[in-house]
């Protein structure tokens, strides 16, 4: 299937939809249960809860696990944030035989990016219907305290987002700025792109966040980046479109690598771009922080609807449009 459309989706619209499957995650963050508590269980036929294998202890994690055990029947899978296999296993088992349009709801607020990329990859490569709609919800994080530096453990491409061969005339690094300035610099040192573009959430969760991101990434912004593009946190649709416009002049001739270090809706936009265009790769920078950052929520929710269509359905659509225009 091919990525057909990315649009913003109101929370109320998602809450009133019926889904074939809801995929939720139990992590060590307080916000893991914020969106599940808003959802009506009956509106999704089946449920999967993914739990992080890495962090099994801690008050918040125990409370989150208890909440899911008490309120959500269905499959509960504990797995590593580095392992996408259980996601595919669950999706293959639970959505087999779906007819018409496949509808999936995902709360990716506390998910590893490998997991929500896996959900999108499953739709691309294994979904049997002609159309699939994935609604992704995100509870905006409240990072009030300055966290300790992120120590990188691995830098690799997100599966399905590997990009081209690396033999283009020049390379472009597109950095999504977050609050881990030294980690971004560290990746920049290893990536060594010819050109650097940066983007950051603005408007963001709080008014002071854009300036904080700029301060944390001062060296990258001042010494490396051509410019920094402010993009709204609450609109993946606009972020996706603006980033596409940013890299459009380079699409056919340059190697483009996204390094999204900012908030998850901006990571999602980068992943979707890499899934849409052949020579864009999207890197996953994983790391450890000591102690882990406790993230609450501001109460805002960012909703995104991603629509996939089988090529023949797209062709049919094109034929219909052609007929109408005739």
């Amino acid at each position: 299937m091919r990525l057909h459309r990315v649009t913003d989706c109101e929370l109320n619209s998602a809450l009133s939809e019926h889904y074939d499957l809801a995929i939720l995650a139990s992590g060590y963050e307080e916000r893991s249960t914020f969106i599940p508590k808003l959802l009506k269980k009956s509106r999704s036929a089946k449920h999967v809860v993914l739990g992080f294998k890495e962090v099994l202890s801690g008050d918040d994690r125990s409370a989150n696990d208890r909440y899911f055990a008490d309120h959500w029947t269905g499959t509960f899978t504990t797995t590593s944030s580095d392992d996408d296999r259980p996601v595919y296993t669950a999706l293959n088992a639970l959505l087999q035989g779906t007819r018409g349009v496949t509808r999936i709801l995902v709360d990716y607020s506390s998910m590893s990016r490998l997991w929500y990329a896996a959900i999108l990859n499953w739709v691309r490569y294994a979904c049997q219907t002609d159309t699939a709609i994935v609604d992704l919800l995100y509870a905006v994080g409240d990072h009030r305290e300055h966290a300790s530096p992120l120590v990188i453990t691995d830098v690799s491409a997100i599966p399905g987002c590997e990009g081209g061969s690396g033999f283009q005339s020049q390379s472009i690094g597109v950095f999504g700025l977050g609050f881990d300035g030294s980690a971004a610099l560290c990746v920049l040192d290893r990536l060594e792109p010819d050109k650097v573009f940066a983007y950051l959430a603005d408007p963001a969760a709080h008014d002071d966040y854009p300036q904080r991101a700029l301060t944390e990434n001062d060296e990258l912004v001042k010494k490396h980046s051509g410019f920094t593009l402010p993009l709204p946190l609450n609109s993946v649709e606009r972020t996706f479109r603006s980033l596409a416009e940013l890299i459009l002049p380079h699409l056919d001739r340059d190697e483009i690598t996204f390094v999204p270090m900012g908030p998850k809706p901006h990571v999602l936009a980068a992943i979707l771009l890499a899934m849409r265009f052949q020579n864009i790769s999207c890197l996953r920078v994983s790391g450890r922080r000591e102690p882990p950052e406790q993230v609450g929520t501001t109460g805002q929710v960012v909703g995104t609807r991603v629509e996939f269509k089988r090529e023949r359905a797209l062709r049919g659509l094109a034929d219909s449009i052609a007929k109408v225009s005739r």
């Binding site: 992080f52 890495e54 962090v55 944030s81 580095d82 996408d84 595919y88 296993t89 293959n92 590893s112 896996a118 990859n121 691309r124 490569y125 294994a126 530096p149 992120l150 120590v151 990188i152 453990t153 691995d154 830098v155 690799s156 491409a157 997100i158 599966p159 399905g160 590997e162 990009g163 081209g164 061969s165 690396g166 033999f167 390379s171 881990d180 030294s182 610099l185 560290c186 990746v187 040192d189 290893r190 990536l191 060594e192 792109p193 010819d194 060296e219 010494k223 190697e255 690598t257 052949q278 020579n279 790769s281 890197l283 994983s286 790391g287 450890r288 922080r289 000591e290 102690p291 882990p292």
Partner: protein, 604 residues
């Protein structure tokens, strides 16, 4: 040397990495070093150098595309004789990222995919080399087109016939063939992603790019043979495969490459660049490890600017000033007339006047104030011999006295001006081109006036402020380094703090502790940190001039990179060494030995 005249010259001080420079810019600013001349030999080499030491420039300059544009009599005759044909293959983090994101693969599958992908990449590099060669050697366009057409068709037959019999008619240029290989690579990645999602390969879907799923370098060797016929290359031609950034590869990949270093034929040799201690293994797939000196040679390119100056007649200073001058010239006309010495002046610490050591001189007053009793008595004893006094006392202690006095009399460091002068900037660059360019660029950004002209001189205070900020930033940014960033930061901080205290809190002797030594008793954790710090160019082994390519293994003496001197308020010298154990166990250290490793691993 020619620089492209099609577009206005860029400010090359803002581009510190060779990967970001165009071919003409690299060639125009290239300074051939001894390592470069060594690498031109038809032998296997593994080039070891810290990040920013110029490995990529060396690897790129060995490629035909660059070498054929370098104006130097020896090189021009080498290119004309077609003795060496170099190809450049980056195994960058983006490239390796597409290998590392498949942890589910078995060792066999991972090995197979690495070989497949490297086969495609080396063939792409071969195509770039051929394009350059045709353009350089055949001025007549119709002849060039005819040869390109027949070469492309032969390569299609060799590489693609089994997959795409129809390709032979459609792919008539090297550019079209390159596009086609890139598409194959993308389709292969998509196919693997699909297999992962579905749990197995679809029985109706044949594997993509079957022709490249053969022994490593076989498609390349076949292409070399075809090109030899089509271009009528001499039988003595040696092909250099320059694999850059091998530090990002895994031990599994190095083992595969090692097997080819061991079994290589004389017409294809390897130049592999990696960071020190990042040639992960000597193992091969043949069961017999590589023999250093026989199968290949290491070339360690990091240099100590002090040793370079003392053993090779100011070569370190010459390298740095050449780097500045070449970049300034290529960035014309922005920096016309600007010199490093003019901009930065002399260094009080490193270019001291040793003449004024009379009885009432300020130097002697400082000696009496800051030196320990033993040194003061020795100075008294040697006072009758100007030569002995200069060599054994003044030369050794003068910088430390000035530094100690400057730090003591400048609380808060706002007005500190001691880290200044061209010698200091050069020394803090550690003979590392990228570091030097970053330092130069920091100065030039400060010297830039609102009307875009450049001030001809920077004050010592400004220079000191810039160097101290640069030094601190170099240290703090390592905190996110993979696996051991926090531990490495603490480790270097403990060592630097110890050295700072021994300089600033105790009375001075003629030698200051600026290095540390280790022996076989070093813990694996500390040894790992030292290896990583050497790789990043934050520690350097005190290698001997007689055996400059030997990397010490769990023994020897190491000094802090001179770039860290301003941060820790040290002299940028090797000094004398103290054992690492005594430094770490010193109760005087800000963070004890235990503090370095007290963390818990957690996934972010």
């Amino acid at each position: 040397m020619k620089v492209s005249r099609r577009s206005p010259p860029r400010n090359l001080f803002e581009i510190e990495n060779a990967r970001n420079l165009t071919r003409d810019e690299i060639v125009a600013t290239f300074i051939p070093t001894q390592a470069f001349w060594r690498l031109l030999a038809p032998k296997n080499h593994i080039v070891l150098g810290a990040r920013g030491s110029g490995k990529t420039v060396l690897a790129k300059m060995l490629s035909y595309d660059h070498l054929s544009h370098f104006r130097h009599p020896s090189i021009e005759s080498l290119v004309a004789s077609r003795e060496l044909m170099g190809m450049y293959v980056p195994t960058s983090i983006e490239w390796v990222g597409g290998l590392r994101n498949k942890p589910w693969q078995s060792d066999g599958e991972a090995e197979e995919f690495f070989q497949w992908r490297l086969n495609v990449s080396t063939c792409l590099a071969f195509l770039s080399t051929m394009s350059s060669c045709l353009e350089n050697e055949f001025q007549d366009k119709s002849t060039r087109a005819r040869i390109e057409d027949s070469l492309s068709k032969s390569l299609v037959t060799a590489w693609l016939d089994s997959d795409f019999p129809a390709c032979q008619q459609s792919l008539c240029t090297l550019r079209e063939l390159k596009k086609h290989l890139e598409a194959i690579e993308h389709r292969k990645q998509q196919q693997l992603a699909r297999q992962r999602v579905l749990g197995s390969a679809s029985p109706n879907e044949p594997p993509v790019g079957l022709s490249f799923g053969v022994d490593l370098f076989r498609p390349l060797r076949r292409a070399i043979s075809i090109a030899t016929d089509h271009l009528d290359l001499p039988s003595k031609t040696t092909w250099l495969l320059c694999l850059d950034e091998a530090e990002f590869l895994l031990p599994l990949h190095h083992r595969i490459l090692n097997s080819h270093l061991r079994a290589t034929s004389p017409d294809l040799v390897f130049k592999i660049t990696t960071m020190p201690y990042f040639h992960h293994t000597l193992d091969t797939n043949a069961g017999v490890p590589l023999n250093v000196g026989h199968d290949f040679e290491y070339v360690y390119i990091d240099q100590d600017p002090i040793t370079l100056d003392s053993t090779s007649g100011e070569e370190g200073r010459k390298f740095a000033t050449d780097l500045f001058n070449h970049r300034a010239k290529a960035s014309r006309p922005r920096y016309r007339g600007l010199t490093l010495k003019g901009l930065l002046g002399d260094s009080d610490l490193l270019d001291p006047s040793l003449s004024d050591w009379g009885a009432d001189s300020s130097n002697l007053q400082l000696l009496k104030k800051h030196a320990n009793d033993k040194t003061v008595q020795r100075a008294d004893r040697l006072a009758h011999s100007a030569l002995q006094f200069r060599d054994q006392i003044a030369r050794k202690i003068h910088g430390a006295l000035l530094l100690k006095e400057a730090i003591q009399s400048h609380k808060g460091h706002e007005d500190l001006d001691i880290y200044s002068g061209d010698s200091m900037a050069i020394r803090c660059g550690d003979a590392n081109p990228r570091r030097l360019i970053r330092i130069f660029n920091s100065f030039l950004l400060e010297a830039k006036r609102p009307d875009n002209t450049v001030a001809k001189k920077l004050s010592k205070n400004t220079q000191t402020r810039i160097l101290m900020a640069f030094s601190t930033s170099t240290l703090t940014r390592i905190q996110s380094e993979p696996e051991c960033g926090t531990e490495l930061y603490k480790f270097l901080s403990v060592i630097g703090t110890y050295m700072n205290r021994s300089l600033h809190r105790a009375q001075l002797g003629t030698d200051q502790v600026l290095s540390f030594s280790i022996d076989g008793s070093i813990s694996p954790d500390h040894w790992k940190l030292i290896q990583r710090a050497v790789g990043l160019g934050l520690l350097f082994p005190n290698v001997s001039a007689k055996n400059p390519d030997h990397m010490p293994e769990k023994e020897g003496t190491f000094h802090l990179a001179y770039v860290l001197s301003p941060h820790f308020q040290l002299l940028p010298r090797r000094g004398k060494s103290r054992s690492l154990i005594s430094i770490l166990s010193s109760s005087d250290s800000a963070v004890g030995q235990k503090g370095i490793f007290d963390h818990t691993d957690e996934e972010a």
